[in-house]
C-alpha cells in the first residue's frame, strides 16, 4: 500500500513519504514502550516498595515526552508532506494528461479525470496527513508490546497473542461475507440506477403513452430488488461484524479468566498480574484507531490505484531524431487500425496533395472520422504509415506536427471566456486586428453584433451560450487565425438553419483556400466539389476518383449518391390532393 503511494508520488515526494513512515515507526515504538513502562511501574506501585514507582514514573515521563515531541513533529511533517504531495500530484497528472494520445479521451473521461484531479488528489493526500499514523501505529505498537511482554510473562503474552490469528481469520471471513452481499447490493444498485436514468430520459414516451406501467413497473421492481438486497446485506453484515466483535471480546475475556486462574492458584504475584492486565487492556487501543479509519483508507487506496493506472498509461512516443516534412502532402500507406478488438481500417492508402480537397464519404461506421484522427495523431496506426511531406508522423515532434494542422470537428469545444479569447487561441500572439479579421472571415462578427459586449461576450461553459452552428463558426475563425497548411474537417450531419448554413459554407471556403484539405463530407455540394473522393466501406477504400468519374463508374458510390440525393430532396407531403380542400378554408381563418 505504501509502495503504491510512493510510486504515485514520484521520486522526490516519495522520499519524503518514506521518511515520514520511518518517523512514524519510531513514534509507534515509543508509544509501545510507554505502555510497557506501565508494567514495572504498576508492579512497583503495588509491591512492598511503592517509592520505586516514582523512578519508573520518571522513565515513563521521559518516554512520554519523547513520544509527544515525535508525534507533534510527525503531525506537522505529515501535513507538510500532504501539501507537497498535492502540488506534486497536480503537476504529474496535468503533465500526463497532455502527454496522452488524444484518442485516450472519450465522453466519460472529463468527469472521471475531473474528480480524480480534485477530490482524488485530496483523498490521496489524506494518507500522509491523517491515515499513515493510525495505520503504522496499529501494526507497530501492539507488536512492540507483545514481543516485550514475553519477557515479563509468557503465559499472558501467549493469551494476548492467541486471539490474533483468530481475529485475522474472522476479519477475512466477515469481509468476504460482506463482499459477497455487497456485490449483490451493487448489482441491484446499478440496475436501479439504470432504470432511474431510463425513467428520467423516457418521461416523454412514458407519459405520451399514458399507461406507463411497463416502465414504472420495472423501476418499482428494481427498487424492490434493491430493498431486498439491502436487507440481505444488513443481516450478513450483522453476522460478520458480530463474529469479529465476539473474537476481539474473547481476547479480553480469555486474559481476564487466565489472570483470575493464575492469581487464584498463586502462580503469579498480585502486582505483576495487575500490571499485565493493564497492559493487555491498553495495547489493543491502536488497533481500534486503525479500524476507525478503515473506510477512509479504502477511499484513499482506490484513488491511488486510479492515479497509478492513469500515470502508467503510455504516452505517444516522441522521435529521438526528429525529421522535417518536405511539403504538405498527407499520405496514408497501408494503414491498419482498430479500437481494441474491433478493426476499423484494414489497409487504407491514399495521398491528399497540397492545395487539393479530398472528401471521405461512406456509410456510418466505415471509419471516416478515424482517418482524420490518425492524421492528427490522436492514435498511431497498428500497421502501415501516416506521412506528412514524405515523413512518417512518428518521426515528427508532436507539437511541431500539430502546429501545422487545423482541426474543425463536429462537436466543437469552446473554453469559458470571451469569443475573442477563444479565437485568439489559434495564435496567442496575434494582433487585435488579425483576430478581428479572422472573426470577419468566419462571419463571427455577425454573431458578435447581436451580443451585448460584441466579441468580448462570454461564451459560457463549453460554449453553451452559443448555438451549435455559432460554435462551429467560432472554431473556424480560430482555425483561420492559426493559418496552417493542413486542414482536417468533420462536416456536421445535423441540420442547421439556412443562415448559419450559408455562413459556415463561406467561412469554410476561407479556411480551406490553398491548403491540404481532408474532409469527412456529408453535404452533397461538398462532395461534388472535391478534387478526389474516397468512398470508404468496411474499412477499405472501395472506390476513388472525382465525382463525374465515380458516377460514370456506376458502382457503390453512384448508388450511395443516388440514395442520398433522393433523401435530401424528400418532402413531407407528396400528395397535394389530400390537403387542397382543407387548405382553402385555412386561408380564411388564419390568413388575416
Amino acid at each position: 500500500m505504501i509502495s503504491a503511494l510512493v510510486s504515485v508520488a514520484g521520486p522526490s515526494a516519495g522520499t519524503a513519504l518514506r521518511k515520514q513512515v520511518a518517523a512514524l515507526v519510531i513514534e509507534s515504538v515509543c508509544l509501545g514502550f510507554c505502555y510497557l513502562l506501565l508494567y514495572p511501574l504498576v508492579n512497583a506501585l503495588f509491591s512492598d516498595q511503592p517509592e520505586d514507582a516514582l523512578i519508573w514514573l520518571g522513565w515513563l515521563g521521559l518516554m512520554f515526552t519523547a513520544y509527544a515531541i515525535l508525534r507533534f513533529y510527525t503531525q506537522l511533517q505529515g501535513f507538510r508532506a500532504a501539501v507537497d504531495l498535492i502540488r506534486v500530484l497536480f503537476g504529474r497528472l496535468g503533465q500526463q494528461l497532455t502527454a496522452l494520445p488524444l484518442g485516450w479521451f472519450d465522453a466519460t473521461s472529463s468527469g472521471r479525470v475531473g474528480r480524480l484531479l480534485s477530490q482524488g488528489v485530496m483523498d490521496v493526500s489524506s494518507m500522509p496527513a491523517h491515515l499513515l499514523r493510525p495505520l503504522v501505529s496499529a501494526l507497530v505498537t501492539p507488536l512492540t508490546v507483545v514481543l516485550v511482554m514475553f519477557v515479563f510473562d509468557w503465559r499472558l503474552a501467549s493469551a494476548a497473542l492467541f486471539t490474533a490469528p483468530l481475529a485475522w481469520w474472522t476479519y477475512r471471513w466477515s469481509s468476504h461475507l460482506v463482499k459477497t452481499t455487497s456485490r449483490r447490493t451493487e448489482a441491484s444498485a446499478v440496475e436501479a440506477a439504470t432504470r432511474t436514468v431510463e425513467f428520467a430520459q423516457s418521461q416523454a414516451v412514458l407519459r405520451a403513452f399514458g399507461h406507463s406501467e411497463a416502465v414504472f413497473g420495472k423501476l418499482q421492481k428494481a427498487f424492490e430488488a434493491q430493498w431486498q438486497s439491502g436487507r440481505a446485506q444488513v443481516f450478513s453484515t450483522a453476522l460478520g461484524l458480530s463474529a469479529f466483535v465476539l473474537v476481539i471480546q474473547l481476547a479480553l475475556t480469555v486474559v481476564l479468566f487466565l489472570g483470575a486462574y493464575l492469581a487464584l492458584g498463586g502462580r503469579i504475584d498480585a502486582p505483576q498480574l495487575i500490571a499485565l492486565l493493564v497492559l493487555c487492556v491498553r495495547y489493543v487501543e491502536p488497533l481500534l484507531g486503525a479500524a476507525e479509519v478503515a473506510g477512509l483508507v479504502k477511499v484513499s487506496q482506490n484513488s491511488i490505484q486510479r492515479m497509478d493506472e492513469l500515470l502508467c498509461e503510455p504516452g505517444l512516443a516522441e522521435p529521438v531524431l526528429p525529421a522535417e516534412p518536405q511539403n504538405w502532402d498527407l499520405c496514408f500507406e497501408h494503414v491498419r487500425f482498430g479500437y481494441g478488438n474491433t478493426k476499423v481500417l484494414e489497409g487504407v492508402s491514399f495521398t491528399a496533395r497540397s492545395r487539393s480537397t479530398t472528401a471521405i464519404v461512406g456509410p456510418s461506421g466505415s471509419g471516416k472520422t478515424t482517418i482524420l484522427r490518425l492524421a492528427a495523431r490522436f492514435w498511431d496506426p497498428a500497421d502501415g504509415e501516416v506521412q506528412v511531406g514524405g515523413v512518417d508522423v512518428r518521426s515528427i515532434v508532436t507539437s511541431d506536427l500539430l502546429a501545422q494542422i487545423s482541426i474543425v470537428f463536429q462537436d466543437v469545444y469552446l473554453f469559458d471566456g470571451s469569443i475573442a479569447e477563444n479565437i485568439r487561441q489559434g495564435r496567442p500572439d496575434a494582433t487585435d486586428a488579425e483576430v478581428l479579421q479572422a472573426a470577419r472571415l468566419a462571419r463571427v462578427n455577425e454573431i458578435a453584433a447581436r451580443l451585448p459586449e460584441g466579441l468580448d461576450s462570454d461564451v459560457g461553459e463549453g460554449g453553451s451560450k452559443l448555438s451549435g452552428g455559432e460554435r462551429q463558426r467560432v472554431s473556424i475563425a480560430r482555425a483561420i487565425l492559426k493559418d496552417t497548411p493542413i486542414v482536417l474537417l468533420d462536416e456536421a450531419t445535423s441540420a442547421l438553419d439556412p443562415i448559419n448554413q450559408l455562413a459556415i459554407q463561406e467561412a469554410l471556403t476561407e479556411l480551406t483556400r490553398d491548403r491540404t484539405v481532408v474532409i469527412v463530407a456529408h453535404r452533397l455540394e461538398t462532395i461534388r466539389n472535391a478534387d478526389e473522393i474516397l468512398f470508404l466501406e468496411n474499412g477499405v477504400i472501395a472506390e476513388r476518383g472525382s465525382h463525374p468519374e465515380l458516377i460514370s463508374l456506376g458502382g457503390r458510390y453512384a448508388e450511395f449518391w443516388a440514395k442520398r440525393e433522393r433523401a435530401a430532396n424528400w418532402r413531407l407531403l407528396r400528395d397535394p390532393q389530400v390537403t387542397t380542400n382543407a387548405s382553402r378554408h385555412l386561408v380564411s381563418d388564419n390568413g388575416r
Binding site: V83, A200, A208, T237
Partner: protein, 580 residues
C-alpha cells in the same frame, strides 16, 4: 421542521427504541474494564483471594460483553432495517412525484441528476439513520458511565481526567470558530480545481493542437497552485493547536496525567494507591466522544445537504389537473389562444400566439434557431403549460383534459428517440396496450422496420440494448412504429427526424410520410423545402408568428420567409471549396 426531520419522519418511531438499546450497550461497554479494575483492587488488598468473588467479577465482566454484543446487534439491526425501508419509501415517493411534474423539467435536468437524487442522495441519508444517532448515544453514554464509576471510586481524581477534555474544548473553541467559513472556502477552491480539470480534459484536443502554453493548461496549473496555497494557508495556522489537541486526547496522555496526579496525591495520603488503578484502566474512555463527534460532523453536513436536495425535488410543483374532461377526438381542432410562455418568468420565449390547427392539415413552424418553434410545439403535449392564454382541443382547455385521454389524442416524434431497455415488442406495444400481434406487425411494417426485426434471432422478443443494437435510424423507426400503433389523431413532429441518420433516411422518411397522412400535424421545420407543401407555414421570429400562409403566398409577399428562401437557394448553390 428541519429538512432531515421531514425526510426521516416515517422511521423516527423506530430510531428511538434503537437509541435506548444502544444506550444499554454503551453502559455495558465499561463492564470488562470495571471488572479488571475491581479485580485489581481485590488483589491489592492483599491476603488470600476470595475465589467465589473473583469468579463472579470475571463472569459479570464477560456477561457484560455478551449483553453488549446482543444490544449492539439489535440496535444496529433496527436502524439499518429502518434505513432500508426508508430508502425504498423515498425512491418510490420520488418516482411518483416526478411522474407528475411538468415534462419540461426533465429537459432542463440532466438524467444524471435525477439518478444522483434518487440513488446517491437517498444513500447519503443512510449514515444518518443507520449510524449517526446511535453513534452519538454511545459517544455520550459510555464516558458518562465510566465517569460515574470513577467518581464513585475517588471523586478527587475526576477533575484530573477531565482536564484534557476541557483543554481540548478550549482549543477547538478558540481555533476552529471560523471553520464553517473556511470549509466553504475550501470547497469552493476544490470545485474550482475540478472545473479547471474538466475544462482541461474536455478541451484537450484544443490544448494539444494549439500547443502547451495554452490557456486552459495554464488555468489548471493556476487553479491547482492557488488551491494548494490556499489549503496550506488554511491549515498552517491550526496545525500546532490541532496536533496539541490530538495529543491531549490520546489515551497515553490521560494515563500519564492520572499517574502523576495520583502518585502525588497518594504521597500526601489524599488518595489510596489502589484507587489509581481504575483510573488508568478507564480514563481513556472519556476522550472517545470527541473522535466520534468530529468524524460524524461531516457526515451530518452531507446528509443535511442530501436531504435538502431530496426536498427540492419532492417540493416541485406538479402539473395541475383540475377537471377530467374527455373531448371528442375525431375531427380534432386545436387552437392556441393568446398563448405566451416564459421559462424564467422574465423573458418570454413565445408571445401572443394565436393559431388554429385544422383537422387533417399540416402546419409547419419555420424560423431561425431560438425563434420559439420548439417551445411552441412542446406546449401541445403539455411539456409545459402556457404562462398566459390557453390551448384548446375541440374547445376544451388542455389543462382540463384527463391525462390519459390527452395522450390518446396527441402523439409526438422528436429527434432523440428513446427506446426502453425492454423487448422490441414491449417497446412498440407501449403505443397501445392490448394491441394484437397483427396490429404490432402492421405498425412495424408501416414504419419500415418489420423486416429488420424479423431478421433478428429472437425477432420481436429481442432485448433492446443487450441483444439487439439498433442504429439511430432503426431506433427511430421502432419509435415510429409505436406512434403509428398509438394512432393518435394529432401528431407533433420534428422534421430533423427525417435526416438524423443519413444511412437510412429514406426508410425513416417513408415512415414519416405514412404517419402524417390524414392526421392533424404540427411540424417543427429546419429545411424549408421539406415543408414547402404544408397547408400553412408559420414563420416565427422573436417568439412571435410574423407571417402565415402557403409557400407560394409567402414567397410572393417578399417578407422574412422570402428572404430565408433566398438564403437557402444561395447556400445550395454556393461554390464552396472550389480552390482555384
Amino acid at each position: 421542521m428541519s429538512d432531515v426531520k421531514r425526510i426521516t419522519a416515517t422511521v423516527s418511531g423506530r430510531i428511538r427504541p434503537a437509541c435506548a438499546i444502544q444506550a444499554v450497550a454503551a453502559i455495558m461497554a465499561t463492564g470488562p474494564y470495571i471488572a479488571i479494575a475491581e479485580l485489581g483492587i481485590m488483589l491489592m488488598r492483599g491476603g488470600p483471594l476470595d475465589a467465589a468473588r473473583t469468579w463472579w467479577i470475571v463472569a459479570l465482566g464477560a456477561l457484560a460483553l455478551l449483553l453488549r454484543l446482543c444490544c449492539l446487534l439489535l440496535a444496529s439491526g433496527l436502524t439499518h432495517l429502518a434505513d432500508n425501508d426508508l430508502q425504498l419509501h423515498l425512491r418510490q415517493s420520488l418516482a411518483k412525484h416526478l411522474s407528475r411534474v411538468p415534462l419540461g423539467w426533465f429537459d432542463d435536468t440532466h438524467s444524471g441528476h435525477v439518478k444522483k437524487v434518487m440513488q446517491d442522495d437517498v444513500l447519503a441519508i443512510h449514515y444518518l439513520v443507520g449510524h449517526a444517532y446511535t453513534d452519538r448515544i454511545s459517544a455520550i453514554v459510555t464516558p458518562a458511565a465510566a465517569l460515574a464509576y470513577l467518581g464513585w471510586i475517588e471523586w478527587r481524581l475526576v477533575p484530573i481526567i477531565l482536564l484534557p477534555v476541557i483543554l481540548t474544548m478550549v482549543i477547538y473553541w478558540v481555533q476552529f470558530r471560523g471553520i464553517g467559513q473556511m470549509m466553504s472556502r475550501y470547497n469552493k477552491a476544490l470545485a474550482g480545481v475540478n472545473a479547471a480539470a474538466v475544462e482541461l480534459v474536455q478541451g484537450i484536443s484544443v490544448v494539444k493542437t494549439f500547443g502547451l502554453k495554452n490557456r486552459s493548461f495554464q488555468r489548471f496549473t493556476n487553479a491547482s497552485n492557488e488551491f494548494a496555497d490556499g489549503f496550506w494557508e488554511m491549515v498552517r495556522g491550526q496545525l500546532s493547536s490541532k496536533a496539541a489537541a490530538d495529543l491531549l486526547l490520546s489515551p497515553i496522555t490521560s494515563i500519564v496525567l492520572v499517574l502523576v496526579a495520583g502518585l502525588t496525591l497518594a504521597a500526601n495520603q489524599k488518595v489510596a494507591v489502589s484507587d489509581i488503578l481504575p483510573f488508568i484502566v478507564l480514563a481513556p474512555a472519556l476522550s472517545s466522544p470527541f473522535l466520534v463527534l468530529t468524524h460524524t460532523q461531516s457526515e451530518f453536513v452531507q446528509a443535511n445537504r442530501a436531504a435538502r436536495r431530496l426536498l427540492d425535488v419532492l417540493d416541485l410543483p406538479v402539473l395541475p389537473q383540475e377537471k377530467n374532461q374527455t373531448p371528442r377526438l375525431d375531427e380534432p381542432r386545436i387552437q392556441f389562444e393568446d398563448v405566451s410562455f416564459s421559462y424564467d418568468e422574465r423573458t418570454e420565449a413565445i408571445r401572443n400566439i394565436n393559431l388554429t390547427l385544422h383537422p387533417r392539415t399540416v402546419t409547419a413552424l419555420v424560423g431561425a434557431s431560438g425563434a420559439g418553434k420548439s417551445t411552441l410545439a412542446h406546449l401541445l403535449p403539455r411539456f409545459w403549460d402556457p404562462t398566459e392564454g390557453r390551448i384548446t382541443l375541440n374547445g376544451v382547455d388542455l389543462r382540463h383534459i384527463d391525462r390519459d385521454h390527452l395522450y390518446r389524442a396527441i402523439g409526438f416524434v422528436f429527434q432523440e428517440t428513446q427506446l426502453l431497455h425492454a423487448t422490441v415488442r414491449e417497446n412498440i406495444v407501449l403505443g397501445r396496450t392490448g394491441a394484437s400481434e397483427q396490429q404490432i406487425i402492421q405498425a412495424a411494417q408501416q414504419a419500415q422496420i418489420h423486416d429488420r426485426i424479423s431478421a433478428l434471432a429472437s425477432g420481436y422478443n429481442t432485448m433492446v440494448g443487450s441483444e439487439g443494437v439498433f442504429s439511430g435510424g432503426e431506433a427511430q423507426r421502432i419509435a415510429l412504429a409505436r406512434t403509428l400503433l398509438a394512432d393518435t389523431p394529432v401528431v407533433v413532429l420534428d422534421e430533423a427526424t427525417a435526416f438524423a441518420d443519413p444511412d437510412c433516411a429514406a426508410e425513416v422518411q417513408t415512415a414519416l410520410s405514412t404517419l402524417v397522412e390524414k392526421r392533424t400535424v404540427l411540424v417543427i421545420a429546419h429545411r424549408l423545402h421539406t415543408v414547402m407543401e404544408a397547408d400553412q407555414i408559420c414563420v416565427m421570429s422573436g417568439g412571435q408568428i410574423v407571417e402565415t400562409g402557403r409557400h407560394e403566398d409567402l414567397v410572393a409577399r417578399k417578407g422574412i420567409y422570402a428572404e430565408l428562401w433566398a438564403v437557402l437557394r444561395a447556400s445550395e448553390q454556393h461554390p464552396e471549396l472550389v480552390l482555384e
